[in-house]
Symmetry: C2
Subunit: 203 residues, 2 copies
């Protein structure tokens, strides 16, 4: 598998402190996200559920995004990757997005990503926070960066999700040889125009 | 959810006979498909494993395709739907394919289809026969009908699978509101051109 440039994925940064407290926060966060989704959960609620001060959550996790990523054992670098894809503007966004998705999934992070996707698909209560995070925090962010009207952005985010989900489910879960045995660079060239049309093309 | 015309999905046709024999054949078929894939399993092997005469398999199931569909509890009408999509020729194949996929998944067959997809995603040994059936018997058949060169067809089948899988995973498993709340006719118009490009467009 060739990638054009390497994505460095490090283990989620852990700060010194009481691991029991960190664990209690993660456990409360998981329950909150499952019960109320990503958008409906606040750090204040999660702190109350964990029996800790809200300031303590900020000691361990920078943001609700970072707390969610840690809860799902997802790479802490995800928001930076999204910003990098957004930074180039609408032109070429489709190609940058599929290239980044494939670099990430072809990296050492693949097992944790497969695990998170399996969790979202098999544990009905985790499907909601994952789909909210995917559509609002990742795809919504990219479409805002491309200055797509918010209502139109919902429709386009759904289409983007459909192509990206299918690519990762086919290549990394179902392991279709016709997707597994392809160099990432060729898939980028073939799928990029689909994503670009879903971003700002005529539908 | 509006569909342009209804697909009638009936329960898999059962012929009279000893249900233990039928069960023994299905059980042997499941093991054979899991161990050797769809292409690598023969009705003769399955008959031997089940301890029955091969002619008896034909009494219960018309073909290896039908035996596989029964094993996965999938609708027996699937091959007819594929033929109907193929029958119109290459022009408009993308739209006919996504319309048929959505009609099927929006029909009463939805629970069995969700179950089969979950099995393929969660039981590693069933991923192989499902992906072989999907790429060879369904997408390969459609690409042959569009007279796509066999080697080129593998690549195009992978791309078709990526968009279709993502659409069904997003709409029926992860249940993304941006896909669930869309009329099928609009998704057909938006996703059809993607599939058409994957069938015979410039990649």
């Amino acid at each position: 598998m060739t990638t054009e440039h390497e994505v460095k994925i490090t283990k989620a940064g852990r700060r010194p402190g009481n691991q029991d407290t960190r664990g209690a926060i993660l456990s409360a966060a998981r329950s909150a996200f499952a019960a109320r989704g990503f958008a409906g959960s606040s750090l204040r609620m999660i702190a109350a559920d964990a029996g800790v001060d809200a300031a303590l959550i900020h000691h361990y996790f920078d943001s609700k995004q970072q707390l969610f990523l840690a809860t799902m054992q997802l790479p802490a670098e995800l928001p930076q990757l999204v910003e990098r894809v957004a930074a180039g503007g609408p032109a070429g966004l489709g190609e940058r997005l599929v290239r980044t998705v494939l670099e990430l999934w072809d990296s050492d992070a693949q097992p944790v990503l497969v695990g998170a996707l399996r969790t979202a698909l098999h544990e009905p209560e985790m499907a909601r926070p994952v789909r909210e995070f995917l559509t609002l925090e990742i795809l919504g962010r990219l479409l805002r960066s491309a200055q797509i009207d918010p209502e139109e952005a919902v429709r386009r985010a759904g289409l983007l999700a459909s192509q990206i989900l299918g690519l990762v489910v086919g290549r990394y879960l179902l392991r279709l040889p016709a997707l597994v045995e392809r160099p990432a660079s060729e898939l980028v060239a073939e799928v990029g125009p689909t994503l670009q049309r879903y971003v700002d093309g005529r539908l």
